[in-house]
Amino acid sequence: MLNYITDYLRSNTTPGQAGNVLWALVYILIIFGGVSLAVVAMNWLERKLLAHFQIRLGPMRVGPHGLLQPIADAIKLLTKEDIIPSEADKPVFWIAPVMILMTAFSAYVVVPFGPTHAVTDMNIGILFMLGVSSLSVLGIVMAGWASNSHYPLIGALRSSAQMVSYEIAMGLAVVTVILMTSLHGLGIYGTGAGAAGTGTLSMIEIVKAQLAQQTWFVFKFFPLGLISFFIFAVAMVAETNRAPFDLPEAESELTAGFHTEYSGLRWSLFMLGEYAAMIAVSSIAATLWLGGWLRPFPNTLTGDTWDLVFSLFPGLTFLGLALIAFLGVIRMPKHAYFRLQTLGLAGFAAVLALIGLILFIPPVRDRIQDIYWFIAKVAIFMYLYIWYRATFPRYRFDQLMKVGWKVLLPMGIGVLLVTAIVGVL
C-alpha cells in the first residue's frame, strides 16, 4: 500500500501515465479546490477592478476592502429560495447547470501545470479540451429550453449559436498551432532549417515543442503566430459569453438570458461553470501560445544566475502584494469603527508576506517555478477579461455573428494556409 503511494512519487510522470488512481484523485481534488478558490478570487477581483475602472471604490464594507464579499455572496446564494417555474421540465431543469459545471471542470484533466504536473497526459489533449467545451453548449440549450419562458429560450438559442460559431474559429487557430509543432525551425523565422518532426495534440508535448524550438508559438513565423493568437483570444471571449460578446446574458437586453429562471444555488452553479470555463480556455491559450509553464527566455538566458533570478519571481510577487495590502492598512481611517477592518487587513498582509517568504526557501523555490509561471500567464488573461468587460461596448447579435463567420473564419483559414506554406518552404 505504501509502495503504491511512494512509487508514483519516484516515477517522473503524470498519475495517468503511471496508472496510479490514488494520486490522480489527489491531483483532481487539488485542481478542484484551486479552481474554486480562483473563481471566488475572480468574483472579488472583477467587482473591485470594474469599480476602479469606473472611478469608484466597489465593495468596501464586508471585509477590509471587500475581501470577504464573495463569502457573503455565497452565503446569500446558498440560503435563497429555490424557485422552479411551474411548467418547467423538471429533470432537464435540474440537469442543465450540472452539465455545464461537469464539462467546465472536466477540461482540467489535461491542463499541464508543469512537465509532470497534470492529472494525465492524453494523446488527444487539446482535442479533448475543445470537445468538452463544445459539450457546454448542450447545457445552455437545455437550460433555456427547460425554463419554459421566452427570455431564457431566446437567450439560450442566441448563446448556443454564438458559441458554435466561435468554436470553429477557435478550432482553426488551434490547428494552426498544432501545425507549428511539427514544423521545426530555429528562432523566430523558422523557414525550413532543421528536419520536420511529428506534430502532437498532447498539451505537455506542445509546451515541450516550444521549448525545443526555442520560441513561444505566439512569436513563431511572425506574424502568423500572433494572428492566430489574436483569433483565439477573441474567439475564447465569445465562447465563454463574456463582454463584449455577452448579449445572451445582458441584463438590459434579455433579463439575464438563459439563467433567468434559476435562483440561489443553481444560479451559482452557472456562475461557477462560466468562470471555470474562462480559466480553462485561458489555460489553453497560455499553453498553446505563451509557452505554458516555461519561464521567459528558457533557452537564451540559461545558467545558474539567470535561473536564480527567475526563481525569485514567485516570492517577490507575493511580497509585492503584501506591500500593497500594507499600504492599504496605513491608509485606513484612524477611527474606532475601523479597528477590526484594519486588523483584518494587517493580518491578510502578514499572511501574504509569510507565503512570499516561504516561496524564497530553495527547495520550495525550485518546485514552484512551473506552476507559478503557468498561473501568472492565466492570471494575465483573467485581468484581460475584466478589462474587456469594462472597456468595450456590447456587440449586437447580428454584428456578433458577422464577426464570427465573416471575419474570424476567413482569417483563420488564411493563417492556416499561410502557415502550412511557410512551413514547408
Binding site: V92, L127, F128, L135, V137, L138, W145, L157, S160, V164
Partner: protein
C-alpha cells in the same frame, strides 16, 4: 497506457449506453430522447477510449455529441408541437417491428458466438501514445482519396441543407 479496472468500466459504460438507447426509443418527449442519445454517445466515447482509440473518442465527443446533437436539439425546438406529444407514439405495426428486430439480434449473437474461433489469439496491443500520429499517417497517405471525397460530401451536405431549409420568398 493500460486501462484501469477494465471490467468495471466496461460494464458501467455499456449499461449506460444500452439504457440510453432504450430511453431514446421509448420517451414521449423528443427532447428527452435527444438527451438520452447524448448519454449513449458519451458512453460510447468512453468505450472507444477503452479500445485504445483515443482519436475516435475525441472525434465522437466533438462531432457527434457536441455538433450533431446540438443540431438535433435546435430542430426539435423548431418543430416541437404540443399536440404531437399527446398523440399515439408507436405506429400500428409495432409488433412486427419488434419481432423482426429481436430476430435480427438473435442472428447477430449466434453469428458472433459461432465465429469466435476466427478471432486472432492475441489482441493487438495498440500503443496509445502514438495513436493520433498513426491515424494521421494512414488517413493522409493510404486513404487520401476517401478523405477528399468525404470533404466534398460535406460541402454538398452544407449546400443541400442550406437550400432546403431556407425560407422561400415566392
Amino acid at each position: 497506457m493500460e486501462p484501469v479496472a477494465t471490467p468495471f468500466f466496461f460494464y458501467l459504460l455499456s449499461a449506460l449506453a444500452v439504457v440510453g438507447g432504450v430511453l431514446v426509443i421509448t420517451r414521449r418527449n423528443p427532447v428527452h430522447s435527444a438527451l438520452s442519445l447524448i448519454l449513449t454517445l458519451l458512453a460510447l466515447a468512453g468505450l472507444y477510449l477503452m479500445l485504445y482509440a483515443p482519436f475516435v473518442a475525441g472525434v465522437q465527443i466533438i462531432l457527434y455529441a457536441g455538433g450533431i446533437m446540438v443540431l438535433f436539439l435546435f430542430v426539435i425546438m423548431l418543430v416541437n408541437l404540443e399536440r404531437n406529444q399527446k398523440e399515439e407514439q408507436f405506429n400500428k405495426t409495432w409488433l412486427v417491428g419488434l419481432v423482426a428486430a429481436v430476430a435480427l439480434g438473435t442472428l447477430f449473437v449466434i453469428v458472433y458466438a459461432k465465429g469466435q474461433a476466427l478471432f486472432p489469439e492475441r489482441l493487438a496491443q495498440l500503443p496509445e501514445a502514438q495513436n493520433t500520429q498513426q491515424v494521421a499517417v494512414l488517413l493522409y497517405r493510404d486513404y487520401m482519396f476517401s478523405f477528399e471525397i468525404a470533404s466534398l460530401l460535406l460541402l454538398v451536405a452544407i449546400i443541400g441543407a442550406v437550400v432546403m431549409a431556407k425560407k422561400r420568398i415566392d
